[in-house]
C-alpha cells in the first residue's frame, strides 16, 4: 500500500486541469516511476495524487501542421525509441531515452515526467535542450508554449503554474531544429544499466552542403550544473569553422568555460570537467560522421 491520502483520476486533459484547480495540494502522477518511489521513501507520504495515466490523448508522436515533431507528454521511453518519426528525424532522442534505467522502467516512465521533475540528470533533458525543444503547457487559460530552457527554473522546479491548473501536454521539436541535423548522446555512468548519469552530453550538428564547415552545432549537458544547460561559448567557437579534428578538440576544451559541475559522491568536479570535454569531442565526431562529414 502506498501512503497516499486520496487519488483523483483524470480522463482527459480538461479533466486534469479541473482536478488541479480543485486540489492544488495534490501532485500529478504520470508513469509514477519518480512519484511512487518518493512516496515509498516517505518524501511524499500522506500526499494526494492526480493521476493522468489514463489521459490517452497525451500519448503518441506525430508531425503537426507547423511540421513540429509533437511528442505527447505521456509517451513512454520505449515508444519514443521505437517510433519511426523519431528514428528518422531525431534518432538521438530515442537512443538517449533507451539508456534510462532498465526495460521495465522504460515501459513505464514518460518524457513528461522526465522533464517535469526538473532533474538535471534526466536522460532526455540534455538532448531536448540541445534541440531547442518547445514545451506545451495546458491550463485554465488554454495552451502556452515556452522554450525548454525557460521551463527549467531551478533544480527540481519547472514553470508549471498550479494556480492556473497547468500540466505539461506535449514536447515539440521545431523543424528548424531537426532539419538536416544529426546528433549523438553520451551517458557517462558507473554501469550500463540501472544507473543515473554522472554526466550526460548531447551534441547535434548541421554541416554545409560540401560537409566542410560547421553550419550549426548545439550542445547541452545534464549534471554539469543544477539544471540541464547549453554550452554557448563552445557553440560560438565552433560555428562557421572548418570540420577538422583540431577544431573539434578545441570545442571540447571550450565547454569548460560554460559548465559548472559540482563535487558529489558520484564524481568530483574535476572528473566531471574531464569527461565533459572528452564527451563533447566524441559526440561531435559522431555527429559529423552521421551528417556524412569526413575527419
Amino acid at each position: 500500500m502506498y501512503d497516499m491520502s486520496a487519488l483523483y483520476e483524470a480522463k482527459s486533459v480538461q479533466d486534469a486541469v479541473r482536478l488541479r484547480l480543485e486540489h492544488p495540494e495534490a501532485q500529478i502522477i504520470a508513469g509514477g516511476t519518480d512519484v511512487l518511489v518518493q512516496m515509498r521513501e516517505g518524501k511524499r507520504a500522506g500526499k494526494s495524487l492526480i493521476s493522468i495515466q489514463k489521459v490517452n490523448e497525451m500519448r503518441g508522436i506525430s508531425i503537426d501542421e507547423e511540421e513540429n515533431i509533437r511528442i505527447g507528454s505521456l509517451t513512454t521511453f520505449t515508444h519514443i525509441t521505437n517510433d519511426p518519426i523519431i528514428q528518422q528525424y531525431i534518432n538521438v532522442l530515442g537512443e538517449a531515452v533507451d539508456m534510462v534505467g532498465g526495460p521495465q522502467i522504460r515501459n513505464a516512465g514518460t518524457i513528461g515526467g522526465n522533464t517535469c521533475n526538473g532533474v538535471t540528470s534526466a536522460d532526455s533533458a540534455s538532448t531536448l535542450h540541445a534541440w531547442e525543444a518547445i514545451v506545451e503547457i495546458t491550463g485554465k487559460n488554454g495552451v502556452r508554449r515556452i522554450p525548454i530552457k525557460e521551463f527549467y527554473i531551478k533544480a527540481g522546479t519547472v514553470d508549471l503554474r498550479v494556480e492556473d491548473g497547468e500540466i505539461q501536454t506535449a514536447i515539440l521539436i521545431p523543424k528548424a531544429s531537426y532539419e538536416n541535423t544529426w546528433g549523438h548522446y553520451i551517458k557517462y555512468a558507473m554501469r550500463n544499466a540501472m544507473d543515473i548519469a554522472t554526466l550526460g552530453t548531447s551534441v547535434n550538428a548541421r554541416l554545409s552542403a560540401d560537409k566542410k564547415t560547421f553550419e550549426r552545432v548545439r550542445i547541452a549537458f545534464g549534471v554539469a550544473g543544477p539544471v540541464p544547460m547549453r554550452a554557448l561559448n563552445a557553440e560560438a567557437f565552433i560555428n562557421g569553422k572548418d570540420v577538422t579534428l583540431e577544431n573539434i578538440e578545441a570545442f571540447g576544451r571550450a565547454v569548460l568555460q560554460d559548465i559548472n559541475p559540482r563535487d558529489s559522491w558520484r564524481a568530483s568536479k574535476a572528473f566531471r570537467q574531464h569527461i565533459a570535454a572528452e564527451s563533447a569531442k566524441r559526440c561531435l565526431i559522431e555527429s559529423v560522421k552521421l551528417a556524412g562529414g569526413e575527419l
Partner: protein, 170 residues
C-alpha cells in the same frame, strides 16, 4: 489518513476476466498477491530496482510495485502462473530455466521469465549484447546471470529454429 477510498477494477488476469474492489493505495503487486494469490509476483525492493515483481501488462513488462492497482482497469495482465498449460505443463522458457540451472533460490525467477516472455514473443534474433541489455532490469543474488542468459538465448534460438547453428549456440 482520510477515509478509505475503494474502486472497482475490471481486467483480465491470465486470460480470465475478473472484477475486484481495490483500495486506491494498493500497488498492482498488492492486488495480484493479496486478492488473487498470485504469489509468483514477488515483493523485493518495491522501488523499481530489482524486477522481482515484473508482470506483463498488454504485452509489455512493468514492475508491478510501481504501478497502481486501479491502473489495471481494462488491461490484460499476465503473471508467471499464466504460462503453464491446463494440467500444469511448463512452458518452453520455464523448462529452459530448469535445464540450464538458471534458478537457485528462485526469488528473481518469475520476474526474469516474464521479461523473457516479452522478448521471445517478438520472434526476433537478438545479439548477445542486445539480450543482455534487454535482461538488465533484474537483479539476481544467486546465479551470476550466465545461466539465465543462456536459458533465454537457447529458447530464442529454439523458437527461431536455429538452435543447432554452431555459431549461435555457444
Amino acid at each position: 489518513m482520510a477515509k478509505n477510498q475503494y474502486q472497482l477494477v475490471t481486467c483480465w488476469i491470465n486470460g480470465r476476466e475478473v472484477e475486484q474492489m481495490v483500495d486506491v493505495r494498493a500497488s498492482l503487486t498488492d492486488m495480484l498477491r493479496g486478492d488473487f494469490h498470485l504469489t509468483s509476483v514477488k515483493k523485493g525492493c518495491e522501488v523499481g530496482e530489482c524486477g522481482a515483481c515484473n508482470v506483463l501488462i498488454d504485452g509489455e513488462c512493468f514492475n508491478s510495485c510501481l504501478y497502481l492497482a486501479v491502473w489495471a482497469e481494462g488491461k490484460h495482465i499476465t503473471t508467471l502462473e499464466g504460462l503453464t498449460g491446463p494440467n500444469g505443463e511448463l512452458s518452453d522458457i520455464q523448462q529452459a530455466f530448469i535445464d540450464e540451472t538458471a534458478i537457485q533460490c528462485g526469488f528473481c525467477t518469475p520476474g526474469f521469465i516474464m521479461t523473457a516472455v516479452e522478448i521471445l514473443n517478438r520472434n526476433r534474433l537478438y545479439s548477445d549484447e542486445e539480450l543482455r541489455k534487454l535482461l538488465s532490469g533484474h537483479l539476481c543474488r544467486c546465479t551470476g546471470y550466465e545461466n539465465i542468459f543462456r536459458a533465454v538465448k537457447k529458447t530464442m534460438l529454439r523458437r527461431l529454429g536455429m538452435l543447432d547453428d554452431p555459431f549461435l549456440n555457444t
